[in-house]
Amino acid sequence: MKKSVLTACLVFLTGVLSSQAVVIGWAAENVLPGTQYASLVYVADGDAPTITDNVWSPGAESLAWNVNAFEGTSLMPQETTDATTRSGAGAYYVVLFNYTLGQYAVSTSALAWNNAAAISTSEFDIITDYFTPSAFSAWTAVPEPSTAMLLMVGAAVAALRRRKHV
């Protein structure tokens, strides 16, 4: 039975929505060489998330960390619960990580918060199509706080030296 048919029939199963939580189905293909973990990230403005000093860009939330169900260059299907009600331009991205090298890469496509095929709203709304991005940005280095701090300290020392020479 196709999902559309099932959904049509199931509208009569009343009183089944016990909460607003949804379940997002996601996966990935053609993950970058060196990928060790993946994460599902929600971004309120829909723009691709970034990381600075180990902190996500404003409006970005990681919903699933350290996922490592890889088979070759594929990430096998994931189902992640999002308990927050979403709206507007919000979207989900798949982010890959190479912890050894301190790098991350973001999927070039996103999943809208209200995608019906990949997002389940109840136990009667079964995920049929997992969000499966197959293209990612190039690896981007994650500047760690300690590194950033050293750079700042280095810059301050350099500035002091310049001031002394003057």
Partner: protein, 270 residues
């Protein structure tokens, strides 16, 4: 009493006790299974029995699902426990509804449902006493608020292998076991699997019982993790075998990705 008679009596009593402890076997053996079905929740159940006193014959819905301990209501179906059976009505998938009438037991509910072509259709299910339920067929029980936490299914125990037909798409089924069972201890010849994210991989969705979606298992074949080949695995987070057995009488969704098929369930090694 003579010593000889006393010995005979003791031996005879021991024999009777031993006989009472032996597992029940043979034809025309009836039994029941208690299934967890909490109040105000929807639970997928599946009947592991056949019609009483009729080996190899599908039982009737009204006979197989006991109303013992369930919430009945004589006038308002919404206040009673309900059964929801996924079936085919005039070639189209449809749900048949029954409620536990306080006096008459499982009673059909006439509903208006949206059909695949978008039209609305009034469906009046056949009487529960006439509705065939194949061994291993699953359906929903909707427990009323404030009702109990269990439901009993009953019927004749079958010792034959279970043939279960499935169609393309979603099917409510189960392995008709009288005990909890391991998904991977059953013969799944005919299941379709891959080692990636292909849309051709069959899936099994087991309800968590709390209304919060399912635990999903994918049929894994031909992958680099050879220990999982030919097995149902969960893939969320990491790839792993099922963490728990499925209780007797609990059903699940089987998502058939392509074509009709059938399984002949039998215990591993049989």
């Amino acid at each position: 009493m003579k010593k000889g008679w006393m010995t005979f009596a003791v031996v005879a009593a021991a024999g009777l006790v031993h006989a009472a402890m032996d597992p029940v076997e043979g034809t025309n053996v009836v039994g029941f299974v208690e299934i967890a079905a909490p109040a105000a929740k929807n639970t997928i159940i599946a009947v592991p029995f056949e019609a009483c006193m009729q080996a190899g014959v599908s039982g009737k819905l009204g006979d197989l699902v006991s109303t013992y301990g369930l919430t009945g209501h004589s006038s308002d179906a919404a206040l009673a426990d309900q059964l929801v059976v996924l079936t085919v009505d005039n070639g189209s998938p449809a749900y048949y509804y029954y409620y536990n009438d306080a006096e008459d037991g499982w009673t059909a509910i006439t509903t208006e449902q949206i059909m695949p072509d978008g039209s609305k259709k009034t469906l009046t299910p056949p009487a529960a006493s006439a509705f065939d339920v194949a061994r291993g067929q699953g359906f929903w029980i909707k427990r009323a608020a404030g009702s109990g936490s269990t439901v009993y299914v009953q019927g004749q125990v079958s010792e034959t292998k279970q043939a279960t037909a499935i169609g393309e798409g979603l099917n409510l089924i189960s392995y008709a076991s009288l005990q909890s069972f391991d998904l991977n201890a059953i013969d799944w010849t005919g299941a379709a699997g891959t080692n990636g994210v292909s849309a051709s991989t069959d899936r099994i969705l087991v309800s968590k019982g709390d209304g919060s979606y399912y635990t999903t298992y994918h049929y894994y074949t031909g992958g680099s993790k050879t220990e999982f080949n030919g097995k149902w695995v969960s893939t969320t987070g990491t790839i792993a075998l099922p963490a728990a057995n499925i209780p007797a009488g609990q059903g699940f969704w089987y998502l058939r990705r392509s074509g009709n098929g059938a399984f002949t369930f039998k215990p591993d090694g049989e």
